[in-house]
C-alpha cells in the first residue's frame, strides 16, 4: 500500500514574496482516502500553499506532486486529478448553478452531454438538484459553498483541496459540508486537504499544524497532542504556536 504514490506529496517547500518568507521548508503527505486538516491561524501560509499546489504561483524551492505527478514538470496530469474549493467564492453569479458546473466540466475537457449525469449526481448529493436552473446570485452563502463543492467534484478528482471552506457559514451548513467531505473520503477514497483555523474541524483527522510558514507538527489528533505534552488538540495548538512565537 505504501508503494502507491501519495495523493499529495509536499517536500521541502519554501516560498517568498520578495524579502518576506511565507513558507519555510514545508513537508507533509496526504494519502488516498485520508482527510487531512491543515491547521493554522490566519496568515500562517495556507492560501499561499494552496496557490503553489494549484500552480497559481510557481516560484519556489522544493517539490509538490499529486499522485506522483510533479505540479511543475507534469502540471496537466497533476491538475487533472485535482479538485479545488478556493477560500474566495469563484462562481459566476449571473449564470445558473448548472451553467457554472457545465463550464467547469468543459474546463476539464468534458462535453455538456457527458457532464450532465455527473452534475446531477453531485447536485443530488449536495441536496441542490432542485436549484440547478436558478442563478447563483439567488442562493444563500451555504448553498453557494455546496455548489462550489459539487463543482470541484464534477470531474471526479482523486485529491480535493479546500481552503477554509466553512468561513462565514452557519453551524448547520458547516456541519453538512464537513460530514459530506468526510463521507467522500470513506466511500470513494478521495484524498482531502482541508485548510482551517477551527480546531473542531480537525478532530479525528490527520493534522498538519502550520504556523508562520513552518510545519510545527504532523500526525493524528492523539500524536499531535502527545508530542506537544498537551491535554487536548486545542491545548496542543496553543502550546505549539506559543512556543514558536517565543
Amino acid at each position: 500500500m505504501l508503494t502507491d504514490p501519495a495523493a499529495l506529496d509536499v517536500q521541502g517547500l519554501s516560498h517568498a514574496f520578495g524579502a518576506r518568507t511565507v513558507l519555510k521548508d514545508v513537508s507533509f503527505q496526504v494519502r488516498p482516502g485520508e482527510f487531512c486538516a491543515l491547521l493554522g491561524l490566519n496568515g500562517a501560509g495556507k492560501t499561499t500553499l494552496f496557490a503553489l499546489i494549484t500552480r497559481l504561483y510557481d516560484r519556489r524551492v522544493g517539490s509538490i506532486s499529486v499522485f506522483g505527478h510533479d505540479v511543475r514538470s507534469d502540471a496537466i496530469a497533476a491538475l487533472a486529478d485535482l479538485g479545488v474549493v478556493f477560500q474566495q467564492p469563484t462562481l459566476d453569479l449571473d449564470l445558473t448553478v448548472e451553467q457554472n458546473l457545465l463550464y467547469h466540466a468543459a474546463l476539464h475537457g468534458f462535453s455538456p452531454a457527458a457532464a450532465r449525469p455527473r452534475i446531477e449526481e453531485e447536485l443530488t448529493r449536495a441536496r441542490l438538484i432542485d436549484r440547478r436552473a436558478d442563478r447563483v446570485r439567488m442562493l444563500s452563502g451555504g448553498q453557494k459553498r455546496r455548489v462550489e463543492l459539487a463543482r470541484a467534484l464534477v470531474h471526479r478528482p482523486r485529491l480535493l483541496l479546500l481552503d477554509e471552506p466553512t468561513a462565514g457559514l452557519d453551524i448547520e451548513s458547516r456541519r453538512f459540508l464537513l460530514n459530506h467531505v468526510r463521507e467522500l473520503c470513506r466511500t470513494t477514497g478521495l484524498g482531502v486537504l482541508w485548510a482551517t483555523h477551527l480546531i473542531e474541524e480537525a478532530a479525528d483527522a490527520q493534522i498538519v499544524v502550520l504556523h508562520q510558514g513552518r510545519v510545527l507538527s504532523t500526525g493524528n489528533e492523539t500524536s499531535v497532542t502527545r508530542d506537544a505534552a498537551a491535554t487536548d488538540l486545542d491545548d496542543a495548538f496553543s502550546r505549539l504556536t506559543r512556543k514558536q512565537a517565543a
Binding site: 496557490a51 500552480r55 510557481d58 478556493f86 468543459a106 475537457g109
Partner: protein, 277 residues
C-alpha cells in the same frame, strides 16, 4: 445512489470541449450583460450619426484605395467604427479578466488541466467571436445609412475581423496581466483606447494627417490599430492589404507572447504579486 460513469474523451476532443465551454460562457455573459451589448452597438452608431454628419461637408476625401470613387465621409469612417467595436471589446475582455481575477473566477480557469497558452487563446477567441457578431450587427444597421459595401465584402471582411479582433484582444490580455486593480481601468481608457483610436486612420486618412503633423503621421503608422482598420477597410471592399495584414500578425505575435509571459505562474506579474492571506 449509483455512480455515473464519465469516460474521459480523447485529448483532441478535450481541447475542443474546453474551447467550446469557454466560448459558451463568454456568450452567456454577453447576453446577461445587456448594458455592455447595447453600449457596444450605440457607441459606433452615435459616431456615425453625429460625428460623420458634422464632418460630412468639412472633410473632402480624394479617391484613395480601396475606394474607386469619391465617397461620403460616413462611408470612410465605417471600417474605423468596426475597428472601434473590436478595440472596445478587446478592452472589455481585458476588464472582465481583471474582474475575474479580483472575483476569483480566474482561478478556476487557471487550474484547468490545459496549457496556459491554450486557455488564454480560448478566452481570446471567445472575445473575438462576440466582437465579430457585434460588428456584423453594426454593418447591418449601417446599411440603412447607405453604407453598402459589395456583398462579397461582407464575407471577405470576416477573416480580417477575426485577425484584428485577435490582435486587439491579445493587447487586452497583456493589459489585464499588468493591471492590478479594477479601478486602474480608467487609466487604460485614457492612455490606451483614446490615443490608439485618435492616432489612427479610423477617422481621417493618413495623408491628411501627414500634412498637418509629421509626428502624428508616424505615430499613426506604427499604431497597430491603424493597420487593423486598414485591413478591415480593404477587406470590406474586396481588396487585400498585405502590409497591414503582416503588421497585424506581427503585433498579434508580440502581444500574445507578452500575455503568456504575464500569466506564467513562474515569470509573470501574477507570480510577483504578493499573495496576502
Amino acid at each position: 445512489m449509483s455512480a455515473s460513469v464519465m469516460m474521459r474523451p480523447s485529448r483532441g476532443l478535450q481541447y475542443t470541449n474546453c474551447l467550446l465551454g469557454i466560448m459558451r460562457r463568454e456568450g452567456l455573459r454577453w447576453v446577461h450583460q445587456r448594458g455592455r451589448f447595447i453600449s457596444a452597438l450605440v457607441r459606433p452608431l452615435v459616431w456615425l450619426a453625429i460625428f460623420a454628419a458634422g464632418f460630412h461637408f468639412v472633410l473632402g476625401l480624394s479617391i484613395t484605395p480601396p475606394y474607386r470613387t469619391y465617397i461620403p465621409y460616413e462611408v470612410y469612417i465605417a471600417p474605423g467604427l468596426c475597428g472601434m467595436i473590436q478595440l472596445f471589446n478587446g478592452m472589455q475582455s481585458s476588464l472582465s479578466m481583471v474582474y475575474d481575477r479580483e472575483m476569483g473566477s480566474m482561478r478556476t480557469l487557471m487550474v484547468s488541466p490545459f496549457p496556459r497558452w491554450f486557455l488564454l487563446s480560448a478566452k481570446l477567441l471567445a472575445g473575438v467571436a462576440v466582437s465579430v457578431v457585434q460588428v456584423y450587427i453594426f454593418l447591418a444597421i449601417a446599411w440603412f445609412w447607405h453604407i453598402r459595401p459589395p456583398i462579397l465584402g461582407y464575407v471577405a471582411v470576416l477573416p480580417a475581423l477575426v485577425l484584428s479582433g485577435l490582435m486587439l484582444g491579445a493587447l487586452g490580455l497583456v493589459l489585464s496581466s499588468f493591471i492590478k486593480q479594477l479601478e486602474n481601468f480608467a487609466g487604460v481608457m485614457n492612455f490606451v483606447i483614446f490615443p490608439m483610436f485618435f492616432t489612427s486612420s479610423a477617422l481621417y486618412p493618413l495623408w491628411r494627417v501627414g500634412e498637418a503633423s509629421p509626428v502624428v503621421y508616424w505615430l499613426s503608422q506604427v499604431n497597430p490599430f491603424t493597420h487593423a482598420v486598414e485591413l478591415i477597410r480593404f477587406a470590406l471592399y474586396e481588396r487585400f492589404n498585405l502590409l497591414s495584414c503582416a503588421i497585424v500578425l506581427a503585433y498579434l505575435a508580440v502581444f500574445m507572447g507578452a500575455a503568456v509571459i504575464g500569466y506564467d505562474p513562474g515569470r509573470g506579474l501574477i507570480a510577483r504579486r504578493a499573495g496576502g492571506e
